[in-house]
């Protein structure tokens, strides 16, 4: 089994109104349930917008703390799911379902760790 990150990219700016968000959240929750039942789900979570981010970086042997995301962009990772599946095709299938319910672009990336545990 191999682990894959399904990262959900959200456009920067105002979130859609609560009413339309509610249905999306419900669908995503149902999909998570489906992943759990298929024994594919490892972890998932939604993130606060990049305005809440803090960056730490090493400078002259000291760690500097600064406000804001590391990269300012038009899109940011709004949430992610980690699945444990046999191969990319299986990961893409979950990613496809996630894209359909969230209507957001999903980036699928393999973990370096083979997850053979």
């Amino acid at each position: 089994m191999k682990q894959y990150l399904l990262a959900m990219y959200q456009p920067d700016g105002e979130l859609p109104p609560a009413s339309s968000l509610e249905k999306v959240m419900r669908d995503i929750h149902a999909l998570r349930q489906e992943m759990k039942e298929a024994d594919a789900w490892v972890f998932s979570g939604g993130l606060h917008p990049p305005g809440t981010a803090t960056v730490l970086r090493v400078h002259n042997n000291a760690v500097l703390t600064t406000d804001g995301p590391f990269i300012e962009g038009k899109e940011y990772i709004g949430g992610f799911t980690i699945v444990k599946v046999p191969d990319l095709d299986a990961a893409l299938e979950w990613g496809r379902k996630l894209a359909l319910v969230s209507t957001l672009p999903i980036e699928v990336r393999p973990f370096r760790d083979s997850g053979n545990r």
Binding site: K2, P86, D87, L88, D89, L92, V108, R109, P110, R112
Partner: protein, 410 residues
């Protein structure tokens, strides 16, 4: 001995992809499979000229490649954990004969084709992998054919193989639900290889022709592997019919000859008869699709003795059918050419002027021809000039410039 070396070359072209596919089944690793198969062919070149061909040359190549791979893995097993695991796997199989039944190797080849043309890989990487792993072309041959520096092509192949390995793209025949789409991707790669060989005239002529030959070989192989897929048959028919006009399409001086001016005696009868036979089979199956309709259009051209006696209404009907399944503006443009023959150039011009294809030289070339036929010569000349400035192909530009000169002289 003189006979044997070409025989090995032929075997290499025909069997390289299958051998790599079988070896990938045994070891699960593209690079090792390629290396082992290349080693086996090198061994064949050293041995066969003096020993003669073995009873089953293809089987010999695969067995030799497998044995070399096992040797290699045993040697490396102490050093590298990756190999140790592999050596364990392969030791379990080493005393058995390699399963070479037709069904198994057929599936091996299909798995490899579908992996090379996996949608998670960029199209140019799909093309490069297909030519490398299934056609056995060298990196440098592929690079020259696509006018790309060797280093770029090498990097493209390394990246693509790296992605297959690291992202764990499976070697698998797609499930029924996705099969049609995935076959479409494979056919698109093969057709792209064919067009690259056919359309471009820059670069090395021989290499370009070898791309057409390779695409047709891949098309035949696909049809052998998936005899029930009508579109696979359609693509092979299409390529055969277009390729049958290769000789007629370029004059002795290297100039482009349009269909209407080609001497039909130069059309290759063997390829044409084979292509027409496949089109008839497609029609009997009655599962029309993109490539089959394109092939049927080519077949109408082949059936005619001249441009004038071509059944243009039939061609327009086929294009109408094609427009129902694709919104490709190039298809609409080609349809306009046929409409010009049925309803006249004014009707065609109206269609052409509504197409959003300003960047494409073909639109301007066709527009120019229609304007010329309508006697609007100054507009025709500027349209030809627009086409010249957008064409990336020297032979084509020369053709367009001759058209301008002809109008200016008249």
């Amino acid at each position: 001995m003189d006979v044997i070396v070409p025989e090995i070359e032929r075997l290499f072209r025909d069997e390289y992809g299958r051998s790599v596919a079988v070896l990938i089944r045994l070891c699960g690793n593209i690079e090792l499979a390629e290396e082992a198969v290349q080693d086996a062919f090198t061994a064949a070149l050293q041995r066969w000229p003096s020993s003669g061909l073995p009873p089953s040359p293809a089987g010999w190549i695969i067995t030799t490649a497998r044995n070399r791979m096992v040797d290699h893995w045993r040697r490396e097993a102490g050093r590298d954990e990756r190999y140790a695991q592999g050596a364990w796997l392969i030791n379990a199989q080493v005393d058995e004969e390699v399963d070479m039944t037709e069904q198994t190797t057929r599936d091996d080849q299909l798995r490899l084709i579908f992996t090379c043309c996996h949608p998670a890989l960029a199209l140019d990487a799909q093309v490069a992998l297909t030519l490398r792993l299934l056609g056995g072309l060298t990196t440098s041959e592929i690079a020259r054919a696509f006018l790309t520096p060797d280093a770029t092509m090498a990097q493209r192949l390394v990246r693509a193989k790296g992605k297959i390995r690291d992202a764990n793209i499976p070697f698998r025949i797609p499930q029924a639900t996705e099969l049609a789409t995935r076959i479409g991707a494979v056919l698109a790669v093969i057709y792209l290889v064919f067009n690259e060989g056919y359309v471009s005239n820059s670069g090395e002529q021989l290499l370009r022709e070898s791309l057409c030959t390779e695409a047709i070989r891949l098309g035949r192989q696909m049809l052998e592997l998936m005899p029930d897929e009508a579109e696979v048959m359609g693509l092979l028919a299409l390529m055969l019919l277009i390729d049958s006009r290769r000789e007629a399409r370029v004059s002795a001086s290297g100039a482009l000859v349009p269909l209407s001016e080609q001497s039909r005696e130069l059309w290759n009868q063997h390829l044409m008869i084979e292509g027409l036979g496949l089109v008839r089979q497609c029609i009997r199956r009655n599962e029309p699709g993109f490539y089959q309709i394109l092939a049927a259009i080519q077949a109408v051209h082949c059936d005619a003795r001249s441009t004038a006696s071509t059944d243009w209404p039939q061609i327009v009907r086929l294009y109408d059918q094609l427009c129902e399944i694709t919104s490709n503006p190039i298809v609409a443009l080609n349809r306009a050419v046929a409409v010009a023959e049925v309803d006249g150039p004014a009707a065609a011009l109206e269609i052409v002027d509504n197409l959003k294809l300003d960047h494409h030289h073909m639109l301007h070339a066709i527009r120019a021809d229609l304007l010329h036929r309508l006697g609007r010569n100054p507009e025709a000349v500027s349209a030809y000039q627009a086409a010249v400035s957008r064409s990336g192909n020297a032979v084509e530009r020369a053709f367009l410039k001759r058209k301008i000169a002809a109008i200016n002289e008249s």
